[in-house]
């Protein structure tokens, strides 16, 4: 085998880690997706940076010109001017792109990343090079995960800066955006990044299970949509609520809370729906209600709610990734 050794000698000196080669190969294979992701991050980040700088300046100037920052705002403050509209559009575009991300990630992971490779046999081509199936799958998960988390967290940081700026807060109130709004809530914390990771893992699992591009793409999109929908519905119940009880004259609490449930209470403390005759004379006495109540999350519940949901998403991601590895192992019998 000396002839063979001399032939391969130059190759040995270059780089000897198949893992490094695998990462390089992956980046080259999925160059289009990589460029698309970079483009998406640049557009969303650009929109946020613009909104934070010139966008906010113009909107704020318009706001103060109308006298809306004064103690007694006039009616014109209710309908935003053109500068404010442009600001709102930029922020909406950035949030929209982040909200779209789990779907795009799931579709890509199920279809292009795994399903297509198993359907046309290029996965088997990779597995018969010097890297085994398990390492191949690990790279398929790790490289996109790293890029997704880096990009998404960048957007989250930018949005938090925009959100916490004083002027931004005032303009956001004008845009009727609250901290607990779907879209705002995810992008302001760790949920956006965790959603992308869960979508990646679910897409990979769909690809491993179905082994064909289009079915995997479809199933991945449906699964990710269901997950996002379910978590959205589950969100208020991930942390104990606070309850406020108000007299019949005060009404229900203010808008800066995530309201979970409102209703009326009788003298015995039983919770009943707000009667349809509410507000009419004699209604309260007739129905026997004495107070209104509201279960809600104050703004201080932001991080507990964020971390609970992030934890759930990461658990889903870990479970899906582990299942994908088990499937691969059962099929190929290969450990590494």
């Amino acid at each position: 085998m000396t002839a063979l050794d001399t032939v391969t000698a130059p190759a040995v000196t270059r780089h000897t880690s198949p893992s490094r080669g695998l990462v390089l190969a992956m980046l080259r294979l999925h160059r289009t997706a990589l460029l698309f992701w970079l483009g998406l991050v640049v557009v969303a980040a650009g929109a946020l940076l613009w909104a934070m700088g010139p966008g906010a300046d113009a909107a704020w100037a318009e706001y103060t010109d109308l006298g809306c920052d004064q103690a007694a705002p006039n009616l014109g403050c209710d309908s935003p001017g053109p500068a404010n509209s442009r600001y709102q559009t930029a922020v909406t575009v950035a949030i929209g792109l982040v909200r779209l991300l789990p779907l795009l990630t799931g579709a890509w992971a199920g279809g292009a990343l795994i399903g297509r490779e198993l359907e046309n046999g290029t996965a088997q081509l990779a597995w018969t090079q010097s890297v085994g199936p398990a390492r191949w799958l690990a790279a398929k998960l790790a490289v996109p995960a790293l890029l997704l988390v880096t990009g998404t967290l960048t957007l989250t940081l930018l949005h938090r800066m925009l959100w916490s700026a004083d002027r931004g807060a005032a303009i956001n109130v004008m845009g009727w955006r609250a901290w607990h709004d779907t879209g705002v809530f995810e992008v302001n914390g760790t949920i956006a990044a965790a959603e992308a990771l869960a979508a990646l893992a679910l897409g990979v699992l769909a690809g491993m299970l179905l082994r064909r591009t289009l079915p995997a793409l479809g199933v991945a999109v449906l699964t990710v949509m269901s997950l996002v929908y379910v978590l959205d519905a589950l969100r208020p119940y991930l942390w104990p609520v606070k309850t406020v009880v108000t007299s019949l004259d005060d009404g229900t609490p203010g808008i800066d809370s995530m309201i979970v449930e409102t209703g009326a209470m009788t003298a015995s403390g039983a919770r009943v729906p707000i009667p349809s005759c509410s507000g009419e004379p004699g209604c309260d006495a007739r129905t026997g209600i004495t107070h209104y109540y509201a279960d809600y999350h104050p703004a201080s519940h932001f991080w507990p709610l964020q971390l609970m949901e992030t934890g759930l998403l990461l658990a889903v991601a870990a479970l899906a990734a582990a299942t994908a590895f088990v499937l691969l192992r059962r099929r190929t019998g290969a450990a590494v």
Binding site: A11, R14, R28, T122, A126, S130, A334
Partner: protein, 294 residues
């Protein structure tokens, strides 16, 4: 370094419980350095066997040893070209070879791979999706040989090549294999395609090994006899016999000297293979064991 390239013991693979096994109780041994023809009718289990040897599938029964170890552990030392030559359509030829370099950093020989591509007159900047079937095969073989494998597994490698390209690529392949002592396993259901380039035969039928051993030994073990119908062929093993009128033609494995009244001929590879395919009940003949024949 082991002298056995592939050894299978009771190897079986089932796809789904209700379907008949693709491979069933295959036991054979392929010595290193051979060029082995793997043949059999469609659906005989050729592709399954190659995928098992390449470590792409897990056997459901028995075991397979490749280059003295498990297929997974031998991954770096074997190359496999699947039947439909999967390659990434979005890469160029040069990009495909770079993939081979990146994924086989300890073994890659760019000169070998580039030479095979250049011999086909292919421009390295062409995208894979623009190649014809035969050109794809050439790139797939370049990728496989660039890895400098000790064992080369080829599933229907020449199926979509024109006769000239087939001749050229076979010559390239055989020269390379001879230079480096590579063991080659090549599947095909066209027997004529394999004769001349192979020195070992593995014939599968319905997932079982029908014939296994050095080509010359297998041919020498069979005799084509013609004689008068009704004459007994005992004690020889009859693979296939056909009577046309009073004339009897049979392929037998002689157990001793043939009796008088029989004319005997050396059969061709195609005749031996076809006779076995037409007679699924003929006993298998395995001449690949160390030393003894069965």
């Amino acid at each position: 370094m082991t002298d056995t390239a592939i050894e299978a013991a009771g190897l079986g693979r089932r796809f789904g419980r209700r379907r008949a096994p693709a491979l069933d109780g295959c036991t054979f041994r392929l010595p290193a350095g051979r060029v082995c023809a793997l043949t059999g009718p469609n659906g005989a289990g050729k592709s399954t066997l190659l995928a098992l040897a390449a470590g792409l599938l897990r056997p459901t029964e028995g075991g397979i040893t490749v280059l003295g170890t498990t297929p997974a552990a031998a991954r770096e030392r074997l190359a496999y070209v699947a039947q439909h030559k999967p390659l990434h359509p979005q890469l160029t030829i040069a990009g495909t070879l770079r993939l081979g370099r990146d994924l086989n950093p300890r073994r890659w020989d760019a000169r070998v791979a580039e030479r095979i591509v250049a011999e086909g007159g292919l421009d390295p900047d062409t995208k894979i999706r623009a190649l014809s079937g035969g050109q794809r095969t050439r790139v797939a073989l370049a990728l496989a040989l660039g890895k400098r494998p000790e064992l080369l597994l080829l599933d229907e490698p020449m199926a979509d090549l024109d006769p000239l390209a087939r001749h050229q690529l076979t010559a390239t392949l055989m020269a390379d294999a001879a230079d480096h002592g590579t063991t080659v396993v090549m599947s095909s259901h066209v027997v004529a395609e394999l004769e001349g380039s192979c020195d070992h035969l593995l014939l599968l039928g319905s997932g079982r090994v029908r014939l296994a051993g050095p080509l010359d030994d297998l041919l020498a073990a069979h005799t084509l006899v013609t004689g008068r119908a009704g004459k007994a062929l005992d004690p020889h093993t009859v693979v296939e016999s056909r009577a046309t009128g009073r004339q009897l033609t049979a392929l037998v494995r002689p157990a001793g000297p043939l009796g008088d009244g029989f004319q005997s001929d050396r059969p061709s590879l195609e005749e031996v293979v076809l006779a076995h395919l037409r007679s699924p009940d003929a006993p298998p003949l395995l001449l690949d064991r160390r030393g003894a024949a069965v």
